[in-house]
Symmetry: C2
Subunit: 255 residues, 2 copies
């Protein structure tokens, strides 16, 4: 069976309070897609954050002494640095313009996923507004999934993705930051290969593989296609979460 | 446009000297796929290595003193450790059973991509045989691409992928280890978003996003679907290579 990823057309700009389920439903309709058992919907983080009103006006931020000092070292707006710190558990590394942190949600990313790019605030001076990640992406995914399931009558997965840089390799790739109704990882432990050996690969980052695929379809240059419909995900759906995708700190050789 | 990934059916076990182009062609035919402009074929590393006869019999390996010492520390076969070292530029980290290395091809991976699992040697005592990565995966991809283009009369991309573990996150994901005819990364620098800001995301790991998608379709438990056909890759094809996906050492904060 093929894996088919379809960006939903004509998704409008998202504003605080907008109903994403309604948007998904309209987008599906415009793409002539009727939801089937085990379909998955993937949403760009940005539209979830916007619908949830995760805007912060930098004018309202009073940077701490720590933020001011760090901001000077890496040549970044101290108010933005303050926000990055407040959204993070701790700092892994810094370099010019970039703070690699463990986000309060547990994953490692640059600048706590906060940025100026491609965000427009609710006010006039849009350059002063920045957008935080959703408060609880797993929960956001779950609500959207439950409403879509109620409306369609079929079992679905819903995932919220962002683009993260990586150690060792160039280029950002899509990764899961919240999910509901699909597995985060697929555990192959105890399974044997064709020759009866235990598999060397014990755990597949299935949700992240799907996130990368969806990110490819969304592109990055615009907000035209922030919702992707997936059919043919090859693993059984179950209710996974972000946590299972995060390597426990004590097992991580690259902190 | 949808991105469609189709695993080719009935690909036989691959042996040294087998013609992968012939296998791809037969698989496409069985899937009723006629190649079109800008289609991409993705191959699991394992079948390329096997076709190229990259088997090594551990009985033939004489471990160095360094390999013996390291093998003792991490509880691994010293002959396998010797092979890992000989396939690597240097070691980044070690832990029980695992050596994280910079492979001679430039990427960071566990155990130089060498393993016992799901490989059967050409001899009787299969447990003594291991499979190395292809000698030059970019070159392998190029030869396959050129032959497929000659046969089909259309421009194609060909990529060879493996599954790699990651810093910070659980689960392996598919990544490119060789490519020809498609971009490794897509450079968005200088492009503006909807609001005229420079994009925060400057470089997309497009080939790795596609590799992850293909890996999802291949699965890991068997060799039944080591070739995936892709239609609808959203970026313009050009002749990329592995190198562009590798972060220069001096820019890497996690070595």
């Amino acid at each position: 069976m093929s894996l088919v990823l379809t960006p939903l057309p004509n998704i409008p700009m998202v504003h605080t309070g907008d109903d994403l389920v309604e948007m998904i439903w309209n987008g599906l309709s415009q793409a002539d897609i009727i939801l089937q058992e085990e379909d998955i919907l993937i949403l760009a983080q940005k539209i979830v954050s916007k619908a949830e009103g995760r805007w912060v006006n930098l004018v309202s931020i009073q940077p701490s002494a720590r933020a001011v000092e760090l901001a000077e070292n890496i040549e970044k707006d101290p108010r933005l640095v303050e926000l990055v710190l407040s959204e993070s558990n701790h700092i892994l590394r810094t370099r010019a313009g970039t703070i690699i942190v463990e986000h309060r949600l547990g994953f490692v990313c640059a600048n706590a996923g906060i940025d100026h790019s491609n965000v427009a605030g609710e006010g006039d001076s849009i350059e002063e507004w920045v957008l935080l990640l959703p408060e609880n992406p797993d929960a956001s995914a779950k609500i959207i999934r439950q409403r879509l399931e109620g409306r369609s009558g079929v079992h679905l997965g819903v995932m919220i993705i962002d683009s993260h840089g990586r150690a060792w390799r160039q280029g950002v790739v899509g990764v899961a930051i919240g999910l509901s109704g699909l597995p985060g990882i697929v555990d192959m432990r105890g399974k044997n290969d064709l020759f009866g050996y235990n598999l060397r690969i014990t755990t597949i980052g299935a949700a992240d593989e799907l996130a990368a695929a969806a990110s490819l379809v969304m592109g990055q240059a615009n907000e035209g296609t922030p919702i992707v419909h997936v059919r043919g995900f090859p693993y059984k759906l179950r209710d996974g979460n972000l946590q299972e995708l995060l390597r426990p700190k004590e097992q991580d050789l690259f902190r």
